[in-house]
Symmetry: C2
């Protein structure tokens, strides 16, 4: 989930940032006063995130940008005597805003739960129970008409360390870095893991999360402010109460998104590829004969644009398997019969039983890709699908199924080249249809859907691997290797 | 919760029952065919309950009454090999009906969870986690357009034993009673406790429970059939998808409800009352000085019709308390200011801290009493209040607050007598207003609201005590005694 943030944000030019901020401030203030006047919607802004990401600065900035007389900021640290003597949620109830006003919650209910779990003061089920209670609390807020906005400010471990070091270098700012901060740095990986679980379980339509890359604080603040402005405007238009709300993108794009540097390498030669392929196939075969696999099973999902090479990759895997133990499930649009059941029902028929492998050539992710983009599923339906998919995969993994998901990323140029090639080669001609060409035209519509999918459904137990697929040989080897590594870590 | 069922149901005369059944059968069949034809709504009927309550008979009867070709009945016992090799919910997904068809689930997901908890195979948090997962599953079904109907067939322990004995007496039916059944009988109390928790946590607007008194099986079957018929008709009219659905009553009234025998006793004399009162006040005072109470606290809720004697009862309690340690909170309609917050917010201000007592003269239950009856709260709002109240009280009790709730039941005659008396006595005249007379006229509207409230919010941790309040002296003593007993059991 956080991986989708870890691109280096380009610094934005000073002057442009300033212009954007001053426009935003004016708009935010207007919106704040209108919401206040309407006195219908309480606004709850929750700021959480990684130590050193600038959570406190964001809180201060929001108080500067908006009229602080109508904002109540509450920071929550360890519990004091009065708080310990009352029920768990009491202190949070005290911080709630009245209709029209805004509450900023700094280190609120999530930070407390995540911290308890990170330091192993509560077990897994108790942590889940707390998250369910939080969900119920937030649903209550939404039912009462509140706008609930949750922000996670993220820094990766390297940037967190660099940030602390920089502060320490200067005598004037050295005091800002505490022992606590360095402890948080040492726990960075575990904090991310726990936070990811918390976010995944509480990213709901009525109280969605917004992940913000905080490596450039100026841009991060701008992003937070824009999300708030948009939510206030929606609340003012009264849409929330009537139409079914849709899930906003989980990852808030920065103003100037970095272009992922595509590593252009020399295509791999067949000569180098073949021995490597055979080696990996052998390794995979051995792993699936491991005694521990008899009580586990494997589900592999392949998604990607047309001609990304899903079928080819699957065949290279099945060559390594015993035909009695695997099944390939090509997934197309649901049939008339399948449409008569809950949409996930058809995938429940294909659960691999213990000791078996199921390979999905496209999958349940069609719901949030083609069905979303083409409008085959209505917005409220695909919006709730992320939660449903996560729950679905959690049920599988809880049983012991190893779920691997591959997104094969092919460039538009390479896709075109492959389409043309298919058109030329007679035996591949059946593989290219007018629909493929039509889909290609909607390439731009697919990109946000893909980004959302990766951000919202990349979980610890069922992670996505994004495979650059312009070179088929490299892609196939990468997939096989990733599978072997995952199996090794699961079966040990 | 189950207490509200434990009135002896009057046997219904044979002929009348038969007429009612034949009318119902015809209507059910019509509705079933219409739903089938429409092919829009899948129907899930879940039958659970106490052993010996006739769950199997109900399933068979439904298959007789409706066209069994369009019903799929699935019974779930211990898991077989194929089921063990797949994720937990897999077998339940296989049993789902397609649009227009009906699935009857016998011993489904609840029975499995309750059984695991009763026999302590899972701990409390794991049990809650399972219930949350079930809730999510049922919400998914509802989102996909399904009608989900859940029935709990209840028998109290005495009637269960009598039923088993009767079957054992006859050689032809002896085989029906198994060792399993007697084990369930020995565990009756624990099963009820666990089931109550499960029902309370999963009684939602989209998949409500229906509690059926099964002491007369004929009437119970009729009740089940009627609920199904009503749900099918609602589905056919398409209301479910458009209007916000309302929560039906939890307890399904039997055809001929028993009249609770009001024990008419001679009024208690002041002479007998006073020494007893003093004795109980002393006992209560001692209990609140118990060292263990320093880490606990007490919240007492008084509800009842006007002139039921709430104020008088509260004063008899406060006479026993140290003025520094208690507060009385008279609850009226929310103020303009309070209305700007989530509705439960104002009660969170009055949480008693450790070692203190809070007495509520009327309370958060106004939401499901006066606000429901008078229409101050819209149906979707008071419908969700039961869940919210249960969650609210659970948060209080989890912290260690002892929550006691008294419903003072006064008869219409006695209320009239008290109103008239108040009108006559000058110093009590302020206590009677035109509104009181108006409320009195709506007496009949309050009764179902009271029944719903008692059924839906009577929980193990925050139980209701219904006090017959026509005799003030007896009522006050009963309340004090109940409080003392509760404190004794909590503080030991």
């Amino acid at each position: 989930m956080f991986a989708s943030l870890s691109q280096q944000v380009e610094p934005m030019d000073e002057e442009r940032l300033e212009r954007a901020v001053s426009r935003l401030r004016a708009d935010l203030l207007d919106a704040q006063y209108s919401v206040l006047e309407q006195a219908r919607t309480p606004v709850v802004v929750l700021i959480a995130g990684i130590a050193g990401a600038g959570r406190g600065r964001v809180v201060n900035t929001l108080n500067e940008w908006m009229d602080p007389r109508h904002i109540r900021t509450s920071a929550f640290g360890p519990r004091d005597e009065a708080e310990r003597q009352r029920p768990h949620m009491w202190r949070y109830w005290q911080a709630l805003p009245s209709r029209g006003r805004t509450a900023i919650i700094f280190e609120g209910w999530y930070t407390e739960a995540i911290d308890a779990r990170v330091n192993r003061r509560i077990k897994r089920h108790a942590f889940w129970h707390t998250l369910h209670e939080i969900q119920r609390f937030e649903r209550m807020l939404a039912m009462e008409g509140a706008v609930v906005l949750k922000f996670w400010l993220h820094l990766d471990a390297d940037r967190q360390r660099a940030h602390f070091r920089e502060l320490e270098r200067d005598r004037a700012t050295r005091w800002r870095v505490t022992a606590e901060d360095w402890r948080a740095h040492r726990q960075h990986k575990r904090i991310c893991k726990v936070a990811e679980e918390a976010i995944r379980m509480s990213d709901t339509v009525h109280a969605p999360w917004h992940l913000i890359d905080a490596s450039d604080l100026g841009q991060a603040q701008l992003a937070v402010g824009k999300v708030i402005l948009k939510a206030l405007k929606t609340a003012l238009s009264g849409q929330r109460r009537t139409a079914a709300p849709a899930l906003p993108p989980l990852v808030v794009p920065s103003e100037q998104p970095a272009q992922p540097a595509r590593v252009v390498t020399k295509p791999m030669s067949k000569h180098d590829y073949e021995p490597e392929l055979e080696h990996l196939q052998g390794r995979l075969n051995m792993l699936l004969r491991h005694p521990a696999f008899a009580r586990r099973s494997l589900a592999v999902v392949f998604e990607g644009m047309d001609a990304a090479g899903k079928g080819g990759a699957i065949r290279r895997i099945t060559h390594a398997l015993d035909a009695r133990n695997y099944r390939v499930h090509p997934v197309a649009a649901p049939t008339e019969h399948e449409r008569r059941y809950p949409w996930l029902w058809r995938f429940w028929r294909d659960v691999p039983r213990d000791g078996r492998v199921a390979l999905f050539d496209r999958s349940w992710y069609g719901r949030v890709l083609v069905e979303r983009v083409e409008g085959f599923a209505a917005e409220p339906d695909w919006s709730r699908a992320y939660e449903e998919i996560n729950a679905f995969e959690q049920e599988w993994t809880e049983h012991g199924i190893i779920v691997c998901k591959f997104w094969l990323e092919v460039s538009a140029d390479e896709q075109l080249r492959r389409f043309n090639e298919r058109g030329r080669r007679r035996f591949k001609r059946f593989k290219i249809t007018p629909e493929d060409w039509r889909n290609r035209e909607r390439w731009g519509d697919y990109l946000p859907a893909v980004q959302d999918m990766l951000a919202r459904t990349h979980t610890e137990r069922a992670p996505w691997a994004v495979v650059v697929a312009d070179d088929k040989y490299r892609a196939r080897l990468a997939i096989l290797e990733s599978l072997c590594e995952r199996l090794e870590s699961e079966l040990q």
